[in-house]
């Protein structure tokens, strides 16, 4: 049953990523990306990482993507459609090289050997285990990243102001 769930989620994730790649309307691309992020959150739940799965939905799909959709609508970009860029060489070279890149990565990862995903210990992915690590071993990165968030907030507000 887990294998079936994996394949269903994989089809959803890859198809929504392809919609992001190809669709002309930017709002549809943003909605498709939100769907993709929700599918990846499904993968996290499948792997047992509950807290990260919820963080993915709340932060990524529920906040970052809403921000992106908001900006697209405010700039009124939903109505325009751009032709794909570059001359004829780039139009065929870029997808071809990306496909080759994907193929090489996939083959390398497939040949790297079987990875056993047997039943994890009970504490895997729980909030308590992550919280313990975050506040003991990774305490300094935690504080530094809060400083980084403050800097990003100030920077974003300043950059988007009409008059300083």
């Amino acid at each position: 049953m887990q294998i079936a769930a994996f394949y269903v989620l994989a089809v959803l994730a890859v198809s929504s990523a392809i919609v992001v790649l190809t669709h002309r309307n930017e709002v549809i691309c943003a909605l498709a990306l939100a769907f993709n992020l929700a599918a990846i959150a499904g993968f996290y739940f499948l792997l047992g990482a509950q807290f990260i799965g919820f963080m993915q939905i709340i932060v990524y799909a529920g906040a970052i993507m809403v921000l992106i959709v908001f900006v697209i609508m405010l700039l009124n970009l939903g109505e325009e459609s751009y032709p794909e860029r570059g001359g004829s060489i780039q139009r065929w070279l870029a997808p071809g090289l990306s496909l080759a890149f994907a193929a090489v990565l996939a083959v390398v990862l497939w040949r790297s050997g079987e990875g056993d995903l047997s039943a994890p210990n009970v504490e895997f992915g729980t909030v308590g285990a992550l919280g313990r690590e975050l506040f003991t071993r990774y305490f300094y990165p935690f504080e530094v990243i809060s400083l980084l968030l403050v800097a990003a907030m100030i920077g974003a507000v300043l950059l988007a102001k009409r008059k300083l």
């Binding site: 709002v27 549809i28 909605l31 939100a34 929700a38 509950q50 807290f51 919820f54 939905i57 709340i58 799909a61 529920g62 906040a63 809403v66 959709v69 908001f70 609508m73 405010l74 939903g78 729980t126 909030v127």
Partner: protein, 349 residues
């Protein structure tokens, strides 16, 4: 029947009961809203359709089904049709972690009365609320109309802003309880009613007030309902919707109200706990506790209507300034004070 099959059957039964109860609550809520508004405005509400107008929700349902279902020519059809579904599905999913009763003994096995009992339970309610914003975004954009777009942008900004205060006000409860599972949070509030989290049990009264204000803003109800105010924006993001799709938005709003009230009751007011000792055990006590839960949630729903006709509507800039400049610092202060109290063992379970 082995454990796995029993688990599946019991989950399906609980799902059926909860979804039907929620949608039934929507129907009852329409009646309560219209009659209670009438009482407050010194007029009769609807009183023709049955005794005291009790069959009015039925008449409303039939009306919505029989109305012509319009698809505007300019609208972007797939997103237009999907938007009310997204709203309703996320609103219903948010209720799945709320315990509506104690663990009961059925057929020799213990059945807990919540649908999903995972370690990070409360986060699922917030995740579903965060995803509910997409229904509004999709509706406003796909309608291709000025009023819809403005209404949906305002509503989205409002909901995202108040989600912060919502999450932070719950942080105080999580600090005091030491767990994210709603079942455990409710069990810790056993005993007399002053043991609840909002009162002397957890000293989270400020958190409770912030949570209630934020949940009013999340569900776009007065005094925060500028996105759907009739005098301002025709009907906001659901201007171009008719018949069943409109009624799905309507249902989604009421289900979100019920879920928000149920969350407030679970986290701050003791959930299904009675609040006073009762000389009963077993099944009788369980039924009484479920009724207590329903009663508490019902009180909050009546308060929604009460506040609607008591307070005037906030202007949009007042609304945003309240969310960012007042509620957010207050909830941060609440988290800090709760953390200090827990660190010095004043509270904490």
């Amino acid at each position: 029947m082995n454990d796995f099959a029993f688990g599946i059957v019991s989950t399906m039964v609980k799902l059926a009961v909860v979804v039907n109860a929620l949608l039934g609550a929507v129907a009852v809520m329409t009646w309560i809203e219209r009659r209670l508004s009438g009482v407050m405005q010194y007029r009769w509400g609807p009183n023709r359709v049955g005794p005291f107008g009790l069959f009015q929700p039925l008449a409303d349902g039939v009306k919505f089904i029989m109305k012509e279902d319009i698809l505007p020519a300019n609208a972007y059809a797939p997103v237009y049709v999907a938007a009310p579904a997204v709203s309703l599905i996320t609103a219903l999913c948010a209720f799945s972690v709320i315990p509506f009763g104690p663990a009961v003994e059925l057929f020799g096995r213990e059945v807990s009365l919540l649908i999903v009992d995972i370690d990070a339970g409360i986060l699922l309610a917030f995740a579903a609320t965060s995803l509910g914003v997409y229904g509004i975004v999709m509706a406003g954009w796909s309608s291709r109309s000025k009023y819809s777009l403005m209404g949906s942008l305002r509503s989205t900004a409002q909901m995202v802003s108040y989600e912060l205060a919502l999450g932070l006000s719950v942080m105080g409860v999580i600090l005091v309880s030491g767990t994210l599972r709603p079942a455990e949070i409710v069990e810790q509030q056993a005993g007399w009613f002053w043991n609840w989290n909002a009162l002397a049990g957890g000293w989270q009264f400020l958190g409770f007030v912030i949570f209630v204000v934020a949940i009013y803003a999340e569900t776009n109800r007065l005094p925060f309902d500028l996105p759907e105010a009739e005098s301002e924006l025709v009907a906001g993001y659901h201007t171009e919707y008719s018949a069943m799709k409109f009624s799905m938005f309507f249902m989604a709003e009421y289900v979100a109200m019920t879920t928000g009230s149920a969350l407030a009751v679970t986290l701050f007011l003791g959930g299904w706990q009675l609040g006073f000792p009762v000389p009963l055990t077993g099944w009788a006590l369980a039924v009484l506790q479920v009724l207590a839960f329903v009663g508490k949630v019902g009180f909050f729903m009546v308060t929604y209507v009460w506040v609607r006709w008591t307070l005037p509507r906030f202007r949009y800039d007042q609304l945003m300034s309240l969310g960012w400049k007042n509620l957010l610092p207050l909830s941060l202060a609440n988290v800090m004070v709760s953390a200090v109290m827990v660190a010095f063992d004043v509270v904490g379970r």
